[in-house]
Subunit: 323 residues, 2 copies
Amino acid sequence: MSSHPPLLDLVADDLILVEAKMQATNEVFQPLAEAINLLLHSGGKRIRPSLALLAGRLYAAAERDRVVSLAAAVEMLHSATLVHDDVIDGALLRRGKATLNAAWSPGATILAGDYIFARAASFAAETDNVRVMRIFSETLMTICDGELRQLYAMGNWHQPRDAYYERIYGKTAALFASATESAAVLGNAPEAEIAALRDYGYKVGMAFQIMDDILDFVGDASTVGKPVGNDLRQGTVTLPVFHYMQDNPEALAVMEATSNGHAGADPLGELIADIRRSPAIEATRQEAVQFIADAKALLAGWPDSIYRQALEQVADYVVARTF
Amino acid sequence: MSSHPPLLDLVADDLILVEAKMQATNEVFQPLAEAINLLLHSGGKRIRPSLALLAGRLYAAAERDRVVSLAAAVEMLHSATLVHDDVIDGALLRRGKATLNAAWSPGATILAGDYIFARAASFAAETDNVRVMRIFSETLMTICDGELRQLYAMGNWHQPRDAYYERIYGKTAALFASATESAAVLGNAPEAEIAALRDYGYKVGMAFQIMDDILDFVGDASTVGKPVGNDLRQGTVTLPVFHYMQDNPEALAVMEATSNGHAGADPLGELIADIRRSPAIEATRQEAVQFIADAKALLAGWPDSIYRQALEQVADYVVARTF
């Protein structure tokens, strides 16, 4: 993580344990082990496990090895969804590196993703906590549900903005929420604190995905690892588009023409360039900033500590990051 | 299940609960719910949940609703693997009915399979037993590992027979084994009985897959739901082929010629017809019969009961079934 929040160093040792845990061992079928280890070295930001580890530090009762297992479960689950996403999109690159999908047949990639899901579930089982495992399986259902909704919504230009928030909850915020919620569960936290930490994770996750959707428009294609405006080109309407359409209702006709095949040279490319330069980007960013402010406000219920400060820093980082 | 073992009626009521549990509720995204319910009505034999339910009946301590959750978890996990298998094979039919893959895009089908995995994991969580959940996640890893090995072994005609047993353990017997093992765990059985019931499930599962591999050669294409000799045509070497090659080493050249593209009219079709008529089929069936005899012998450790008899009947059924 470039210019990462300095207080993340508090859990640097635990993150090393998480990485070691995720590595495939010698017992795994050799081609699969190589694929997993390649995937783990593809430069993820590890923000989800970091949140789990930091939230766990708020509670002396949260045993270190169990929180490490939780953090590994969360990151493995995230990795498995990426593997399947790349098969579904036919993506050959992620973060500028070759995907597993690029090297393997779709069939092998699907099975590798399934294996990584199973490994995530086994890490969740290592927390030895039934409630955490229940949260884990429900989160996976929410994620799949969200991705299916996104797939079905592709090319549907007439949709309410609420459908966007619902989709990014499923796609991203649900896992963030369960990472911090589960850490509180492992800490035997009171129910109100479990709920507040879940909500903190939810809000940070919403902001994270909104920033991702902004970066899809304004990011540098080489660092984001996919072409600018990729979401819109694939038929996915994200928050910047909703903001842009508010002031430019005529954009709808451009999008409809594209999906009807009536497009001229590259009107969608022009629309993407327009959105990129428009105030819609800043209006969208303000929503992310608000989510982060609300997330940090939730932390006010805990006594000031270096770990609470770290959770605040991570939240701030989410809206400051440039890739 | 046509002509099913009569003592299976002992758990008929529980199987109805399992079916009801697996049905998607109104809360699920509508197209996904329809897909799941269609899948559940595609005529599975429900042998795995039946084994879990019957094994649970050996123990008064095994609470009914937990064993029902376990049985649903096992069958949902099996269903999820079928959904992904059909995407991987590009199969449009299963048991003579249209697959989910035939109606949906590959992307949506992959996500539906993931959702069904997650649902299986949530049923496993409903057993409220960490050990069962651990067995569950490990079994899923074993299954994926087995399927990947099978994918890698395709078209590899020179392989030891042991590789076959290893593959069908991963592909089939592992889940049978964990169904009966987990039921014993829920019954607070002594470790020796847990191990014996696991072994019973393992042996029944091995016999089940061997019979499946025989039926691929001798079954009626319309009831098996795929063309005769499909495995060999796809490059998968099964036990009847190993037995046949023992007496007919020249068959190897026919298979090699096929995969090299040097085949004539349909030499593989002739080979399949030869295997179908050969003593290799009966020799293979004898191996399944032996697994079943060994499985039943393991049950001798329990006092005679109607449930033990039912487990014996199910075992016998596995080698008697014709589809």
